[in-house]
Structure formats: structure tokens, C-alpha cells
Symmetry: C2
Subunit: 204 residues, 2 copies
């Protein structure tokens, strides 16, 4: 059984390795990788060993190969269909962001309750009314629902997504959502980043 | 010396306690708080003990009081002036978000290089041209700079902010920024949330 903490570090390894690859580095040691990420080299070796043999003793890890391996472990590039529910300021920004598609996350459907938005297009996709969520989500085989509606509507939207067979939810509303065991829920809270800055600034 | 891991958990305690308060709970045990956050009760007690005596043995923590204490430790509600650099899709969403102001993070200045945007207003604040950053950042006493420009411009923007005396940087561009030791840098990578969902979905 691989721990959640190990799984949660993988995307950070993936992101950091991609930055390292951009800089032209082809081989990297667990010491150097650890310095870049802020974890010990032992932790890196232990995390990666839970998924297989990747590095060469005394040489280090081949960056391109490790990126491909971690990408596969994370299920990237497998073409996941995404639906965004709530096309306000944040939903609009996420729908227009091209980088997610390069990881295999494709915008397939968008929903809103505002009649002025329904029927418009965003990122090449038509905005449907919320009451068509279940029919459209099944038709377009939606894997992941992104919730960018106000907090008071978020639970109802989560329930609709789950009822439509969606098993992954990415939530931005500042509220604790209750979903069934077999649904993978990740809730973002952007205020965490800001408050960690204010913690340090208030000690200078 | 308090560990970075402990400091990074504080915003999660703060956020979870605010959700618990919204539900009407007045007292909570470290066991219950641990269950809600996904850390052990020992970890919670150890983290909080590094900042002082908060709970009552056998009773638990008073939610309202703990929220106030953690908020003070994090330096929240102290009125921090924020500047957003790059008013594209994401910068626009962040500039319009009211919740940050309730934590004491106030939008004080906005910058962009696009002549069509300079001179417009967003969130009640005028968009200035980038070449006025240093003058305006000093005049408005900017504490935290938010970087929402394309990756290739991000380092130059960080350098300008630091030269203008800004000591906190919140970066959304997918690139490793180099800043001086005395600058607090937090880089967000929204793809981490999505890839943790695809990890779990690819194992069902
Ligand atoms: N804007 C940000 O930077 C930011 C940052 C962090 C978190 N959030 C959170 O993300 C969510 C969206 O924020 P925003 O700033 O984009 O808000 P917004 O008000 O700009 O957008 C909300 C959108 O959701 C739609 N909507 C409302 N109820 C709906 C429902 N039941 N079903 C479908 N659509 C519905 C509205 O018509 C609107 O288009 C909020 O919960 C907010 O707290 C936003
Ligand atoms: N949109 C998202 O959901 C999202 C998600 C994660 C990360 N990001 C990252 O955030 C950044 C912004 O993304 P976006 O989608 O808002 O992009 P965007 O292209 O919509 O906006 C970029 C803005 O920055 C301005 N700009 C360009 N160079 C500048 C400079 N040197 N100084 C000041 N302003 C400058 C542009 O005029 C434009 O207004 C990018 O680095 C992107 O990778 C975006």
C-alpha cells in the first residue's frame, strides 16, 4: 500500500523534473533532486522505489526517462475529459488554459446557470445549461468535473456530477464537499499560498 | 526553530477550523480535527505546542479562539498590500476575488504590458504599465507581488518586484524563479491537483 504522502509528492517530482529538463540537464542525482524539491534524498529514493527500479546506482536518474515513468504512474497523457461547472472569473481562466491539455486533460464540456452565458463558446466548447449536465456528461464521457461555482451551490453540483458517473472532482469552492468513497476529490484553497507568505513577512 | 512542514500545515488548520465553525461546532478534539485534515492527533498537538498553549486537557480546543490564534500566527488581518502583475485570464480572476480581502490581503496595484489594458480599472484599481512598477510599488507600499504573466516574462517581473522592495512573491508561472534569500517565494502549480486525480482514476 503506497502512502498518500508519497502519491502527493509525485506531481512535484514531475513538475520539477520538467523544469530541470528545460534547463538542459540529462542526468540528476537524488541529492540534487532533493535540494530542488525540499525533501531528503532518502525520501526520494524510498518514494520512487515503491513504483519500481528507476535510477542507476552511482550515476543518478535519467531525467527524460524518469519524467516518462512518473507521467505514466500519474496517468498523464491518457486523455481525460474535463467538464468545468461555473464559468465565472476562475472557471473562465481555467477553461482558457492550454497547459492542461499538454498533460492529457481536455476540456470537453462547460456548464453554467446564467442564461446570458448559456449558448456562448469558451475554449472552443459550448456552454450548456446546468440542467443538461447529466445527459451531456454521459454523452461526452466526462472523467473529471471542475467546480468553480459559489460555495453555496458546490455540494449540489458535486452530487449532479457523481450522479452522472463522474469519478474525479476538482473543487475550488471554499467548502468541505461530501462525496462517495469511490469518488476522488481534490479541493484547492488558494488562500493557503498567501497565508504562508504573510507568516514569513510578519516575522521579518 | 519551527519546521517548514509545521508552518505549511497551519493554513490548512485555519481553513478547516473556519469550515468547522461554519457548521456550528464550538469545541473540537485533536482526534476530530486530525480526522478532518488527514494528520494524526499527535501531529496536531505537536504543531500547535510549538506556538503556545491552546487547548484544555480532556476538553479539546475552542474553535473560535484557535482560529484567532492561528490567524495571528499566520499574520492574517494585518492588511497586506498586494500587486498583481499580468492581468490575463488568471490575473483577472484573482483581482476580482473578494475572499482574499476578508483575510487582510488588499489589492493595491495592478500592472500589464498590453497597451489595450493599461488605463482600465479592475477591482476598483487602475491598471498601470509595467514600466511604472518600481515607482508605484514604493508609493503604495506593496508587500506581496502576484505573478500571472507568461513563463518567459516571470523572472524579469520577479526581479522588478524585488528591486522595488517587495519581499513576498506569489508565482503562478510554471517556471522556477530565482530570488534573494530574504524574499519569501511561493509558487503554485495547479496541475498538481489534476494529476493527483488522474493517478487515482487510472487505478480504478
Ligand atoms: N476567482 C478566484 O480567483 C478564486 C480563487 C479561489 C477560489 N475561488 C472560488 O471559486 C469559485 C468561483 O469563483 P469566481 O471568482 O469565478 O466566481 P464568479 O461569481 O465569478 O463565478 C461563478 C459562476 O458560477 C455560476 N454559477 C452559480 N451557481 C451555479 C450553479 N448552481 N451551477 C452552475 N453554475 C453556477 C455563475 O453563473 C458564475 O458564472 C467560488 O467558490 C470561489 O470562492 C475563486
Ligand atoms: N489560466 C489559468 O488557469 C492558469 C493556471 C495555472 C497557471 N497559469 C499561469 O499563469 C500565467 C498567466 O496565465 P493566463 O492564462 O492568465 O495568461 P494570459 O495570456 O491570459 O495573461 C497574461 C497577461 O500577462 C500580460 N503580460 C505579458 N508579459 C508581461 C510582462 N512582462 N509584464 C506584465 N504583464 C505581462 C499579458 O499582457 C496578459 O495580460 C501563465 O504563466 C500561466 O502558465 C494560468
Amino acid at each position: 500500500m503506497i502512502s498518500k504522502a508519497t502519491i502527493d509528492r509525485l506531481p512535484l517530482y514531475f513538475r520539477t523534473l520538467r523544469l530541470i529538463q528545460q534547463e538542459g540537464t540529462e542526468i540528476i542525482s537524488s541529492e540534487e533532486l532533493g535540494r530542488r524539491i525540499g525533501v531528503t534524498p532518502e525520501q526520494i529514493r524510498k518514494d520512487l522505489a515503491s513504483f519500481g527500479e528507476f535510477g542507476k546506482k552511482g550515476v543518478g536518474y535519467f531525467v527524460r526517462e524518469l519524467i516518462r515513468n512518473i507521467g505514466e504512474i500519474l496517468g498523464l497523457h491518457r486523455n481525460w475529459n474535463i467538464a468545468i461547472v461555473g464559468v465565472g472569473h476562475l472557471g473562465w481562466a481555467l477553461a482558457n488554459y492550454r497547459n492542461f491539455a499538454s498533460l492529457g486533460f481536455n476540456l470537453a464540456a462547460v456548464f453554467d446557470v446564467d442564461p446570458a452565458k448559456v449558448g456562448q463558446f469558451i475554449g472552443g466548447v459550448e456552454i450548456f445549461s446546468l440542467d443538461r449536465l447529466e445527459e451531456v456528461a454521459r454523452e461526452k464521457n466526462i472523467h473529471i468535473g471542475v467546480i468553480t461555482v459559489p460555495a453555496e451551490s458546490a455540494q449540489a453540483v458535486a452530487d449532479k456530477l457523481v450522479a452522472a458517473g463522474v469519478r474525479g472532482i476538482w473543487n475550488f469552492a471554499p467548502i468541505k464537499l461530501n462525496v462517495a468513497e469511490n469518488v476522488r476529490l481534490v479541493s484547492e484553497d488558494l488562500s493557503v499560498g498567501l497565508s504562508s507568505i504573510s507568516y514569513y513577512l510578519s516575522r521579518q
